[in-house]
């Protein structure tokens, strides 16, 4: 199986989709410069650099999508999406519904985010929850090159607008990419590691931190299950509930601000639908309610690391929910004890 960095897997997916469908075009801040091989293969009309003006880049993607094309717009860094919020949220997300279903917006908005480069809070802000909260949009954040390629292919083929977030810290991390080019349907989580004692649910780079934590927990005899959500909307609720019911102990992990982050939705979902299976309260690990600093140690401190994740899991496995009421009969809980 060939090995590629995530950034190259994105380029591969773009080339494959542009080859397959001539309605796919790509434009954005330096995409024709940085991915010049696409210009060579597909021409300067289908691969374009743009002004550094996120509003019109996103707006042009929305208009082109409604007009029958499948644009991929590269907006560089996620905080720049603030300039594109109107076009993505008010137009792409709403005009299908508000027009009574007359229009579709098959577009992908690409942006980088996350710790790793020390670029500071105006280039590193994990804003995925904003878009999850916006009707009509889908949100994807892959954790490895193979998923990035397969999810981007699905996002390009999707008839809805997709905000596709790339974790800066993973961009140049290599990973195996299969030779087949099958898209992964949006809304399908993956089980990175199976386990029965505690569930670690995450996405993006913290999936790897969860996997490291699971490794050290295994050495202590704790079998942790690691779930990579991959797409945040649609959210794989079935996979979340299945793992919660299986282990009864859940740690939700993400780099984004914990306050009103995606983890809050996951914790609430579990509380509403799998409460009877829980042996302990759900724990959320996330970034602080603070702009991300540039200084490397401070930046790293905003990200839940493997040690903290393992510590949280260990604590959950050591404690038991005091039973203040008779145990409920609930056949949905896989391991009632």
């Amino acid at each position: 199986m060939p090995t590629l960095p995530l950034n190259d897997a994105i380029g591969l997916a773009l080339a494959e989709e542009m080859r397959r469908d001539n309605k796919v075009i790509a434009f954005g801040e330096g995409i024709a410069t940085k991915r010049h091989e696409l210009v060579t293969e597909f021409g300067a009309l289908r691969v374009r650099n743009t002004p550094l003006a996120e509003g019109i880049i996103a707006g042009t993607a929305v208009g082109a999508a409604a007009g029958g094309l499948r644009p991929v717009a590269d907006l560089l860094f996620a905080p720049f999406l603030c300039y594109a919020m109107d076009e993505l949220v008010n137009s792409a997300g709403k005009l299908r519904y508000m027009s009574g279903g007359q229009f579709s917006f098959p577009l992908v908005a690409l942006a980088m985010t996350g710790a790793g480069w020390g670029v500071g809070a105006q280039h590193n802000h994990n804003v995925e929850a904003w878009f999850v909260h916006s009707p009509g949009l889908k949100v994807v954040m892959p954790s490895n090159p193979a998923d990035a390629r397969a999810l981007l292919k699905a996002a390009i083929r999707d008839d809805n607008p997709v905000v596709f977030l790339l974790d800066i810290g993973l961009l140049y991390q290599p990973g195996e990419v299969p030779t087949d080019a099958v898209p992964i349907p949006l809304g399908q989580a993956s089980t990175v590691r199976a386990g029965t004692d505690v569930s670690l649910i995450s996405y993006g780079k913290t999936v790897h931190h969860c996997a490291q934590a699971a490794e050290s927990l295994a050495a202590e005899g704790i079998a942790a299950e690691v779930i990579d959500l991959r797409s945040l909307k649609p959210l794989d609720e079935a996979a979340i509930l299945a793992t919660a019911r299986k282990t009864g102990r859940v740690v939700v992990v993400h780099e984004a601000n914990r306050l009103c982050g995606v983890g809050a939705e996951i914790a609430a979902l579990i509380a509403e639908q799998a409460f009877a299976c829980l042996k302990t309260p759900v724990v959320r690990l996330g970034g602080p309610d603070a702009p991300v600093p540039s200084s490397f140690p401070l930046e790293q401190a905003t990200v839940p690391q493997a040690d903290a994740i393992a510590a949280a899991a260990r604590q959950l496995c050591a404690s038991h929910r005091p039973l203040t009421y008779p145990p409920m009969e609930n056949s949905k809980c896989a391991l009632p004890h």
């Binding site: 019109i56 707006g59 042009t60 208009g63 409604a66 029958g68 137009s91 005009l95 027009s99």
Partner: protein, 320 residues
């Protein structure tokens, strides 16, 4: 595709002016007693819409905004279905989900109507790019106001359309008002067209209350866009003679300025011209007015009888 009234039959233009005014008046009347929700009317701006829309072809696409009744009716939209949309009824063009502010009618080429001021400007280059890249002949006409011209999206849009050679006809209906602020308080230049020239885009300014002048100017501008496949900016000078949104007491409006523009009412100007040229008799005028009034009465009855959408439809069409 429907047949559009592209012929410049002067009487047909006049009838469209009457129809838009009667439609808006029905809404104003209905909103005073709560039968119809208040809207942003286009009263006073009818000639700008009728002149411009009739200069376009069936292939052309139109992006408009919250003050869109004139564009929609001139393009041939059914006033009954428009009113049903305004009233949130099932037979509205957008199944009652838009209300008055964002009515799109894809079958008429009126696409992506947005009420975010400047939103239409941010979408127009993309629509034009799709037309160009798919080899479609139609140009994109983007209607916006002087308020939208003060948004950053206006400047980003013109720059990109000029840079990428996109066939966009920018039509600024400068109605002198940006919600409750006079354009003099908000613009560093006297004309929006001054800004367009800065992007190397051909510009023209025209009397927006003279339907024939708007028709001719838009025809020339549209031809230029069609021939060059590059953007052109047409600034249409007119006046919003009612408030920003119904109801609005217009206490903030300069009475002398309003009176001066009311004295140049686009419908009266057109009528006088037609009568002077012997193309319209007083009898024929009365017949036209009666026909338009009857059409609007039918539309009000149709919309009022249309049911509300069912609650089950609340979350339909969010995702494809």
């Amino acid at each position: 595709m429907n047949e559009f009234p592209t012929a410049a039959d002067p009487l047909r233009l006049y009838e469209q002016l009457l129809l838009i005014r009667a439609y808006e008046n029905a809404i104003v009347q209905g909103s005073t007693d709560g039968r119809i929700p208040g809207t942003c009317t286009s009263v006073g701006q009818e000639a700008a819409a009728v002149g411009a829309i009739n200069a376009l072809t069936a292939d052309d696409l139109i992006l408009t905004n919250h003050r869109s009744a004139g564009h929609l009716l001139a393009r041939g939209a059914d006033p009954g279905r428009l009113l049903a949309e305004v009233m949130g009824r099932r037979d509205g063009y957008c199944k009652g989900r838009s209300g008055s502010l964002h009515i799109s009618v894809k079958e008429l080429g009126v696409v992506l109507t947005t009420t975010i001021v400047g939103g239409e400007l941010s979408l127009a280059p993309g629509v034009a790019l799709a037309q160009t890249m798919q080899g479609r002949p139609g140009i994109v006409a983007c209607f916006f106001g002087d308020g939208a011209a003060c948004e950053g999206s206006f400047h980003e849009s013109l720059n990109l359309a000029a840079l990428w050679n996109l066939p966009v006809l920018y039509i600024c209906e400068n109605n002198q008002w940006q919600a409750f602020v006079h354009r003099r308080e908000a613009m560093s230049r006297e004309h929006v067209s001054d800004w367009g020239a800065g992007y190397g885009i051909p510009v023209q300014t025209v009397d927006g209350n003279d339907v024939f002048a708007v028709l001719e100017a838009t025809r020339n501008a549209a031809t230029q866009v069609r021939d060059t496949r590059r953007p052109v900016l047409l600034e249409v000078l007119t006046y919003r003679t009612r408030g920003h949104f119904e109801p609005d007491d217009q206490g903030y409006v300069d009475k002398a300025e309003l009176a001066a523009w009311l004295a140049r009412d686009p419908i009266a100007l057109c009528r006088d011209r037609l009568i002077g040229a012997g193309q319209l008799s007083l009898t024929a005028d009365a017949e036209l007015i009666a026909r338009v009034d009857a059409r609007i009465a039918t539309a009000v009855a149709f919309a009022s009888a249309s049911p509300f959408p069912s609650i089950e439809e609340l979350t339909l069409d969010v995702y494809a």
